[in-house]
Symmetry: C2
Subunit: 110 residues, 2 copies
């Protein structure tokens, strides 16, 4: 199905998106390129924190950076990432199916 390396690689992507602030940063960039300042104010985070997160997202190619004047704009690098994210968002928004509950005692469906 998926070898160990691929699993680790994919998990690394998930891990980066698994932090709410970081996911928020990436999600906000889905609309279009955003400067660090804009991200900072939109998400009400400290500039330093945003910058640290951007560094990781950049390194993982989940975001790309480009300077325009004094500011630096971050955006989704390619359609792969964009589709991945929009897919996930759609799946989140779609209503969940209702299936058997799990017995909290045994951890097993009766």
């Amino acid at each position: 199905m998926l070898n160990a390396d691929q699993t680790t690689e994919l998990a690394e992507l998930f891990r980066l998106l698994g932090e709410p602030n970081r996911l928020g940063i990436v999600a906000s960039c889905l609309d279009g390129p955003l400067s660090v300042g804009e991200i900072t104010t939109r998400l009400s985070l400290s500039q330093s924190l945003v910058s640290h997160h951007l560094r990781l997202l950049r390194a993982a190619r989940l975001l790309k950076a480009g300077r325009r004047g004094k500011q630096i704009f971050y955006s989704i690098p390619d359609c792969h990432v964009r589709e991945m994210l929009t897919n996930m968002v759609e799946h989140l928004i779609e209503p969940h199916e209702l299936d058997d509950d799990i017995n909290p005692e045994t951890g097993v469906t009766p």
Copy 2:
């Protein structure tokens, strides 16, 4: 785009999949229901570790449990999760686009 709660909820899913062993467990269940023992041997993990991870995955509805005889089988609960994962896997396997490198000095594309 995505409000704070939705972001947190989605991030929680990503976080769970962001651990290689946990992702491996879920991925191995894509083929079909697997008992705890099978997962343990396939991934060469300790039984305790697998069980701990299964607990989290169960709680997050990323996996569902069902007993058959002495053993307990885990499987993908619905098509949402399955599609999500297969999408991600496909995106990972597809060849990556080649775009501008980032200047390691400035962290900016030249």
